[in-house]
Amino acid sequence: MKVLAFGIVKEIFSGSSIDLEFDNELTVADVKRKLETQYPKLKALASYAVAVNDEYAENDLVIKDNDEVAIIPPVSGG
């Protein structure tokens, strides 16, 4: 599964996306858990959300093949 990174998450991932190992069906909560294990610095953020197909996703959402997954650190536009 390709996971897009923005803002500070690009620094944490050392790139604008990573490939996450995807053996069985994953929920958003699963993705967060996996990423936090792999990139502990995520836990130091004030907060972060996961977007699936350009929409903020709840923890229990099941991610499907071809979904676009993105990590959204605290936004600061305007």
Partner: protein, 139 residues
């Protein structure tokens, strides 16, 4: 179409936003213009760098505009956000709202910028003389 929502990597055209929302059936326009401040928390800012998750940001801005049109009797909404590197005094965001009556324009414009700062996936990095920081990233 009564909303004009854009993410641009060139200087925003404040006039174009105002002219676009202006209409004979309107009595008032409220415009918010964000500008890059030369300091933050006592430190000198050299420049800002804005990054957007563009497709999602446009969607979220569009949601805000739809909510505004539902909550207030508005005529038109222009919401332009810039990305890329901005110097002090440059304009990252312009929101212009026209309505028959000014209260709706004021309330909706303020709602727009408040909500944009909370929900729209755009990030800014402040660049100082001695380093840089992604705003709001850490507690």
């Amino acid at each position: 179409m009564n909303t004009d929502i854009q993410i641009l990597d060139m200087p925003l055209d404040i006039n174009a936003c105002i002219n676009w929302v202006m209409a004979p059936e309107c009595g008032g326009i409220d415009v918010f213009i964000g500008t890059v401040r030369n300091h933050t928390k006592g430190k000198s800012v050299l420049r800002l760098e804005f990054e957007a998750y563009e497709r999602m940001a446009l969607k979220e801005m569009d949601k805000i505009a739809k909510e505004m049109l539902q909550c207030w009797p508005l005529h038109k909404i222009a919401m332009h956000h810039r990305v890329g590197i901005l110097g002090v005094g440059e304009v990252p965001v312009v929101i212009a709202v026209s309505a028959a009556h000014r209260d709706a324009a004021f309330d909706a414009c303020r709602y727009a910028i408040d909500t944009l700062k909370e929900t729209v996936p755009i990030w800014k990095k402040e660049i100082f003389e001695d380093g840089e920081v992604w705003v709001a990233a850490h507690p």
